[in-house]
Amino acid sequence: MTRIACCVLLLAVSFADVASAQPAAKSSSKGGGTRAELDALINRLGKTPPDWFKGTPLNYPPTLDLTWPAQATGNWNNQKNVGQYLWDVVNPNPGRWKEGVKLMHHLLTLQKDDPEKRERIMLTLARMYHNLLEDYGRSAFWFRAAGVEKDPVEYAQSAVVLAECYWRLGFEDEARKLLQKIPSNLAHAKLLGDLGETDKAIQMAMEDPDSQGYSSLTAGDACRQAGRYDEALKYYQQVLAIPVPATNPPGRLVKNRSRADANVIAIQSFELSDPQKVPDGTYKSSSQGYEGPVEVAVTVKRGKIESVTISQHREKQFYSAMTDTPRKIVSKQSVKGIDTTRNATITSEAIVNATARALAAAQK
């Protein structure tokens, strides 16, 4: 059980971790297996229920309207409309993901004779398997059952996700083949970035820059993924340069800006926090801990972290974090890959973050 990182900085770091995750199953050859192998794998996985399926209870509000009409009527009501229930209650709570998927299977059984609803339910299932459970085999199965692969232009967004499933399953060539049939879009660009085609990804993302920062953010992410931090910073700065209307700013722009901002801080702190580039001296910085800011003083001498001391804090329960974490940073001479003290994770992480910030700030 790891404590979910609370501050934006850490969120950004964990996004980066997810983004850089490598395909789960690598097959022997670089591009993956044949088309027949892929089909067999997806069919085998897709036709058997996952192991948690039987043990998960069917659970949904009794007020839910299981007919799930295409257009919800009335006001927003997450206890009545299936889509709104998924959006508001299932998606945000990892504990409800499996029962949400089970509900979708239940709906599919109920609505199997209505082609329009059937397709909508299968697409939803595919996205849930992909986005929530990271079960790429079953996701691919349901995308295919809904007919995504047959018409990658009509289902452009879903097709990109399907291509990603192929890649995650270890069939990179098949993923690229599918991508070629899909028109340009930002999701497409992002997947190209994940596949290592950074230049192509940037080009596609910036083909038609939007006013809410999605394009630059996607391009920035692709650069960051490839370790091209200076370029990444440039694209993130572009997002931050988009003017925000004083009244009623569009929510998406605000979100994109805060993501870009967090990524800038994360890059500056973690990727650029090399003590060898820091002149001798003692640097202070702080980061949000459990009860408030934790301030550290980092002493660097001849390119080495000499000491990390906690100069100020208000933490109540810290076990050995106050001594352990600085010791680990000094012995590792880095802020990367420091394991945190159990049950004092937030304090540990605050010390790591504050140290990284102090080192990064010292280089300017």
């Binding site: 945000p92 949000q288 408030g292 208000r314």
Partner: protein, 630 residues
């Protein structure tokens, strides 16, 4: 039967007589240790042991065993208080998936002797709580054991074990003896106060009001240390920002503690001799003694024993005031003729004649009768008076709007809690991060110094069950961790007006993260303020994820409130009070006298299942794959 534990006065034998033969133990010691340690009985020259003890003082020389036992008890008490009850040596076990138990394990590991040992052998603690709550209190058996032991060593608790007595001895020796201007004469109206204090506390207890913890010996010293030295321990060892704030109740208790010590200015151990109601219980127990101090006819009326007696228990004719004697045997060691012996009550060998010199004691006269009457009357009046005040200015349990504190996990129902909590403060000391704070006067006189959860300060640790383990009276039940984990002390309530995401101010998930991390999973998200585009589709990332408390999973630990207060109120100053608050009250907490909390949860789950309509379960195979895909 002889119970002599003193070191006899060393005398040069008269010419022509044989030196006295040492006892069996002394002979054994002489055969093991070097001869220089022991006195030469033929010349009367003291050995190393006697010389050392003499340097330490006359009471050490005459009753070294008693002084050693006293020291061991005081040190033991301090270790139990400052080391065993200090939770911060606990370390979480790395990478286990099981429910964490490091605080509980740490306490169990350190408790070679239960942390509450001294509290449970203070008989007033369990007697008064049992009477007040009209129920069996587990520590009554310990009280019975010590009272039985004190049939053989009358008032031995006061002379040997009581850490407050030893602390008072230290105070009298180091400070009290330097100021003689406040000394009072030997006799006075005050000599029987202890019986009247006992009477008052017992009458109050009988009326269901527990005040014995204000004056009982061990609670007084425990609370005294808790409010004076314990903050220093926290401050120096962990940081001054961790010292909990003080309220009026603290200062009353500190004042009481110092007043008890200051009584030493009137006379050494004034508190123990004349005031302490716990001592009074033993004094009454002395009526059933089987052993006592007796004086033989070799007494030469030298008065040394009267001068050294710390409890004023020797009459002018050198015989014993049996209700006051603690069998400390200091007198035995100073008696030059070794006329004092500690024997069974019915021993009548060679006793000195009574009333020589005259004691001027008479049968109770008119004055004595009046004095006793006034004493008894004021005892009764004090007991009834305090009961009355508490009734008028108390917890108002029948008023549904009265203030309700969040009690520690495993607390018995509130009425019984107030009757059983002796207010010793042991639970505060054992509580990691000081979740428990003593109540001031929020519940009037009823609740003073009782523990309540202050979740703004800290939340109840999932791995800890210490408060119930150290509670001497069972006001907080000693729960195993598995029971404590499901015992509800309150319910978290989200203030929809102030909670940052609910109010649409900004994203915040402190409470949800905290609850998941603690392992309760009792707060989940719901999306609020979702915006919809023209097609009726929700806009990604619009609105906020806001907390929702699942009432069937929340135990009221308060970790969520701690976090919200710590960050949103204290640090960022976004709110004036935590937006998620633990509340106690009917239906929000489990207050059981006995029985399992797990069973309660299971029963609730069964009822819920029976109440809710069964959801339609797919009947074809397992509902995973629809027919058209098979």
């Amino acid at each position: 039967m002889r119970l002599d534990l003193f070191l006899p006065f060393l005398r040069k034998p008269k010419k022509g007589t044989e030196p006295r033969r040492p006892g069996t133990l002394a002979r054994a010691a002489r055969s093991i240790f070097p001869a220089t340690w022991f006195a030469d009985l033929s010349t009367g020259k003291p050995g190393l042991i006697r010389r050392t003890l003499k340097r330490m003082g006359p009471t050490w020389l005459s009753a070294p065993v008693r002084r050693v036992i006293q020291s061991v008890c005081l040190i033991g008490f301090l270790i139990l208080f400052f080391v065993v009850c200090w939770p911060y040596s606990a370390r979480p076990v790395p990478e286990t998936e099981a429910w964490p138990s490091h605080y509980a394990d740490n306490l169990a590991q350190k408790e070679w002797l239960p942390a509450e040992s001294f509290l449970v052998i203070d008989p007033l603690v369990s007697l008064s709580t049992a009477i007040a709550a009209h129920s069996w209190v587990w520590s009554l058996s310990c009280a019975a054991a010590i009272l039985f032991a004190c049939v053989f060593i009358p008032r031995g608790f006061c002379g040997y074990l009581c850490p407050l007595g030893t602390l008072i001895d230290l105070f009298d020796w180091s400070i009290g003896a330097r100021f003689t201007r406040f000394r009072v004469k030997d006799e006075g109206w005050w000599v029987h106060i202890k019986y009247y204090t006992l009477l008052a506390t017992m009458i109050a207890a009988f009326c269901g009001v527990l005040i014995s913890g204000f004056v009982a010996a061990i609670p007084v010293i425990t609370r005294g240390l808790l409010f004076t030295l314990s903050p220093l321990q926290t401050g120096f060892a962990r940081g001054w920002h961790l010292v909990p704030p003080m309220n009026a109740g603290h200062f009353v208790s500190i004042g009481l503690f110092f007043a008890v010590l200051a009584l030493g200015f009137l006379k050494p151990r004034f508190w123990c001799r004349y005031v302490c109601p716990s001592g009074a219980v033993f004094s009454l127990g002395n009526l059933f003694r089987v052993s006592e101090r007796k004086v033989e006819d070799t007494c030469i009326n030298c008065n040394k024993c009267v001068e050294i007696c710390p409890f004023d228990a020797i009459k002018p004719d050198f015989t014993t005031r049996t209700t006051d004697c603690t069998l400390c045997q200091t007198c035995g060691g100073v008696c030059p003729t070794q006329a004092i012996k500690f024997v069974d009550r019915w021993d009548g060998v060679q006793l000195k004649v009574l009333n020589d010199p005259p004691t001027h004691e008479t049968a109770i006269g008119r004055r004595g009768f009046l004095a006793t009457g006034v004493g008894l009357a004021s005892g009764v009046a004090a007991g009834l008076g305090i009961t009355g005040v508490t009734r008028v200015w108390g917890a108002n349990l029948d008023d549904p709007d009265a203030w309700r504190p969040v009690r520690p996990p495993g607390s018995v129902p509130e009425r019984e809690f107030l009757q059983m909590c002796i207010r010793c403060g042991e639970c505060f000391k054992a509580c990691p991060n000081d979740v428990l704070h003593p109540i001031g006067f929020q519940q009037g006189l009823d609740g003073i110094w009782t523990p309540h959860v202050v979740a703004d300060w800290a939340g109840c640790e999932s791995s800890c069950n210490a408060c119930g383990q150290v509670c001497p009276t069972g006001a907080i039940r000693g729960l195993p961790l598995a029971e404590k984990k499901v015992c509800r002390i309150g319910l978290a309530e989200v203030n929809l007006q102030t909670c940052l995401p609910h109010a649409g101010r900004e994203a915040c998930q402190l409470c949800v993260d905290e609850c998941h991390h603690a392992g309760y999973h009792a707060i989940e998200f719901t999306r609020v303020g979702t915006e919809v585009d023209t097609d009726g589709q929700p806009i990604e990332d619009s609105g906020f994820l806001a907390p929702v408390v699942l009432a069937d999973k929340c135990v009221g630990c308060g970790l969520c409130q701690t976090r919200c207060y710590g960050i949103n109120v204290a640090d960022k100053k976004l709110l004036s009070s935590s937006a998620i608050v633990i509340r106690a009250g009917e239906g929000k907490e489990d207050r059981l006298m006995s029985g399992s909390y797990q069973a309660l949860r299971d029963e609730e789950a069964r009822q819920r299942q029976a109440r809710e309509p069964q959801l339609e379960m797919p009947n074809d195979d397992d509902g995973y794959l629809p027919d058209f895909l098979k």
